[in-house]
């Protein structure tokens, strides 16, 4: 649906560097990155607002180099909604249709359909300046969708909202996407939003892509320490990897070491999924590759499961274990635990900040 190939663009001191990104039809692609990493610039370039760039942008197979924004089939929702203050809500929503010379009756039907879909029918006659933040974003969303765009571009639509309206609008967006199936590029700095909405995630840092992949994959297997920290991967440990036999490396962190299935050597980081860590009050019997002793810091109980935070030297680690198990351990008056995990579950990535 969208193909971005080798896109580069300078904007003052800042630049987008060699972006290659594709979105399949009906896909929900979240572009995740910290503030000021070029997300908005990327979206505006796709929308055609910035036209001087190198590389190609294709929408539905057609090269967009000479197509002005008003000929592209695109819906754009800005962070600050950018509703037209001189028009009422209904006029805002039907603006795109009016520009396309859609007959009045069809326009009105489309406006009412979208208003019903988003639950904003009661707002149609209002002045846009009198709306709350959440309502504004819904109207902006309806306005962008009114023209039945091939692609929906969302530029942090949720970030100006409070948590409650954020959750509501997030559900609305998910519902809309299920119903209409519009290919969506959603830009955000919030990994929680990405986790809840994305089919795929593109991680952007400082103008270049760090990682692109299925949402679950990006969270489970970050490619660098930046990626790991930005998506809040659990249990990040940093160290030096040294090669041993059988495609297993030994990673020396400060004061302890662990083993992982990987071929990477040199400065690396690892992340260990909390649900793969097993805990015990005494050192486990048998031959285990990774056993760490830690002091219990905090225990949080959820339904059936407990999240145990423990400290190994200066590193804080978490493990998710069945609640019964931890109750039993605490019954024995434990203040420390032995954590055991297999080398296969340890995900090793290269440390870029060390280079």
């Amino acid at each position: 649906m969208i193909q971005i190939q080798h896109l580069s663009r300078a904007w003052g001191d800042f630049s987008l560097k060699d972006i290659c990104l594709c979105a399949q039809p009906k896909e929900y692609l979240v572009i995740l990155g910290p503030t000021g990493c070029g997300k908005t610039l990327l979206l505006e370039t796709v929308a055609g607002i910035h036209r001087s760039y190198s590389g190609t942008v294709r929408i539905a197979g057609e090269d967009m180099a000479t197509v002005p924004p008003y000929r592209r089939s695109i819906g754009f929702v800005y962070q600050k909604s950018m509703l037209f203050p001189n028009l009422a809500v209904a006029q805002n929503i039907e603006y795109g249709l009016k520009m396309r010379r859609t007959p009045r009756r069809e326009r009105r039907a489309r406006v009412e359909f979208l208003a019903g879909l988003l639950g904003i029918g009661y707002l149609l006659a209002r002045d846009v300046t009198a709306l709350s933040g959440g309502e504004m974003q819904k109207v902006a969303l309806a306005r962008a969708l009114a023209i039945e765009p091939d692609i929906l571009l969302l530029d942090e639509p949720l970030s100006p909202l409070d948590q409650a309206s954020k959750d509501t609008l997030l559900e609305e967006i998910r519902k809309l996407h299920d119903q209409l199936g519009t290919t969506t590029l959603h830009v955000t700095h919030d990994h929680n939003i990405a986790r809840r909405l994305a089919d795929r995630i593109a991680l952007l840092s400082n103008g270049s892509l760090v990682q692109v992949g299925e949402a679950a994959e990006v969270f489970r297997y970050p490619v660098s320490d930046f990626a790991a920290e930005f998506v809040r991967a659990p249990n990040i440990l940093l160290g030096e990897a040294v090669k041993t036999e059988n495609e297993v490396v030994q990673i020396n962190c400060d004061g302890f070491s662990l083993r992982a299935s990987s071929r990477l050597t040199g400065p690396v980081g690892v992340t260990i999924p909390p649900e793969e860590v097993r805990l015990g009050v005494s050192a486990p019997d048998g031959d285990h590759m990774n056993v760490l002793r830690g002091d219990i810091e905090r225990i949080e109980n959820q339904a059936g499961l407990a999240t145990v935070t423990f400290r190994v030297n200066e590193n804080r680690l978490v493990a998710t274990v069945p609640r019964a198990e931890i109750t039993q351990m605490l019954g024995q008056g434990a203040t420390h635990v032995y954590a055991e995990f297999a080398p296969e579950v340890v995900h090793v990535f290269r440390r870029e900040s060390a280079e």
């Binding site: 002005p68 008003y70 950018m82 037209f84 001189n86 209904a90 520009m99």
Partner: protein, 417 residues
């Protein structure tokens, strides 16, 4: 009132009669004496009845106010009958908050500032209104200082205008307006400045838009150039225009031969000079207005399928229209008041400011004044428009018109828990 009070009042009334009979003999005719006595009696009655005797301070102030009026009208202005009138008003209004202040301002300005009494009364009441507002709101010292200083500047501009208007009688005005040359001059002024404003809008609004939206080389220089007409002394503008387009220059001859347009001594010349001097006001106004419209609104319109020109016409221009209109009025006012360059470029036909100057130098102040007042009246509509602008804007009009087809049933609104 109980019996004792009635006796007390009666005694005081007789005493008052005695005092008046003794002091006013020969000063006033009997009818006048009776008027004064009745008003004094009313003041006495109000003093006893409505000013509570327990409030000693209040009673003292009441007496002080009476004495002030007495000194003003009886001793300084020597108008006993006016005193009678004011005493009645005073006694009646003593307990109406605010009103008593205006009464005293009225009394002071009429008794003491005889030839300027009307403007002084108008300004002083205005001042008093502001001070009262500040005191009632407990606005504090800073606000009071700013208000007083600001008011001084305000008074310096308003006082001469008011005085000029009050000095001119209605007969003077009608006589002045019936003269053909006066009508011609005012018509010429209004028509030429309106044409100039129209031309400036047509050319200046696009310029302002470009200046705000695009960052190009030489933008800083262009920005300075816009203000040049404000900096150049007025006669220099006339000289420069004549040097460029005068009857003896090739450009001037070209205009005359092919279009029949002459600059010197014609409406075209007047418009040229007015456009020159008043363009910065519109351009600056429009620039400020465009700056306030977020560029991303235009981007949004474009992604929705609007050609940039259409986005400009349907979104940017309506949103900026208020500021542009404001600039229009400033520009129009500047054009109609242009004088310096017109004395050089077109002394005849004379616009109103030129005619005023002409009459003043030939016949003097009293002849020039009615025409000046007329010109002020003509310019008043701009003042009214500026006032109206604060509440009304073309943009809001658009929105309201747009509401009608979608008026929804209020019952369909979801109830908010």
């Amino acid at each position: 009132m109980n019996r004792r009070e009635v006796i007390k009042f009666g005694a005081l009334a007789i005493a008052l009669l005695a005092v008046q009979a003794l002091t006013l003999r020969g000063v006033l005719r009997p009818v006048g004496q009776l008027c004064l006595y009745l008003s004094n009696l009313f003041a006495l009655f109000m003093g006893m009845y409505s000013v509570r005797p327990s409030k000693r301070m209040d009673l003292n102030f009441y007496v002080l106010g009476y004495l002030t009026l007495f000194v003003l009208f009886f001793i300084l202005a020597r108008q006993p009958l006016l005193l009678a009138l004011f005493v009645i008003l005073y006694a009646a209004l003593y307990h109406v908050p605010g009103a008593i202040g205006y009464l005293f301002i009225f009394a002071f300005s009429f008794a003491l500032f005889a030839p300027f009494s009307l403007p002084v009364f108008a300004l002083a009441s205005l001042f008093y209104t502001g001070i009262r507002w500040l005191v009632l709101r407990r606005a504090g010292l800073l606000a009071a200082i700013c208000y007083v200083l600001g008011f001084l500047l305000f008074a310096a501009t308003l006082l001469p205008m008011l005085q000029m208007s009050t000095m001119t009688s209605f007969q003077d005005l009608t006589k002045s307006i019936s003269a053909d040359y006066v009508q011609d001059a005012i018509r010429l002024s209004v028509v030429s400045s309106s044409i100039s404003t129209a031309v400036i809008v047509l050319l200046g609004v696009p310029l302002a838009y470009v200046m705000v939206r695009w960052r190009f080389r030489g933008r800083g220089i262009a920005d300075t150039l816009i203000d040049i007409p404000i900096l150049i002394p007025q006669p220099v503008v006339g000289i420069a225009l004549l040097t460029m387009l005068g009857p003896k220059t090739s450009a001037g001859q070209f205009l005359y031969n092919y279009f029949g347009i002459e600059i010197a001594g014609s409406v075209w010349g007047i418009c040229a000079a007015q456009i020159f001097v008043s363009s910065p006001f519109l351009i600056r106004g429009a620039m400020t207005a465009f700056q306030a419209v977020d560029e991303r609104l235009e981007y949004a319109a474009q992604t929705l399928g609007a050609h940039p020109i259409r986005a400009f016409l349907t979104i940017t221009l309506p949103l900026a229209s208020k500021g542009i209109f404001y600039g229009c009025i400033l520009s129009w006012a500047r054009a109609i008041s242009e004088f310096g360059s017109l004395t050089v470029i077109a002394y005849k036909p004379a616009t109103a400011p030129v005619l005023i100057h002409d009459i003043f130098t030939q016949y003097g102040l009293s002849e020039a004044r009615p025409l000046s007042v007329l010109l002020v009246v003509v310019c008043l509509w701009a003042f009214v428009a500026l006032r109206v602008m604060r509440t009304w804007s073309p943009a809001s009009l658009f929105t309201r018109a747009a509401l009608r087809p979608y008026d929804t049933n209020p019952a369909s609104e979801p109830s908010v828990g």
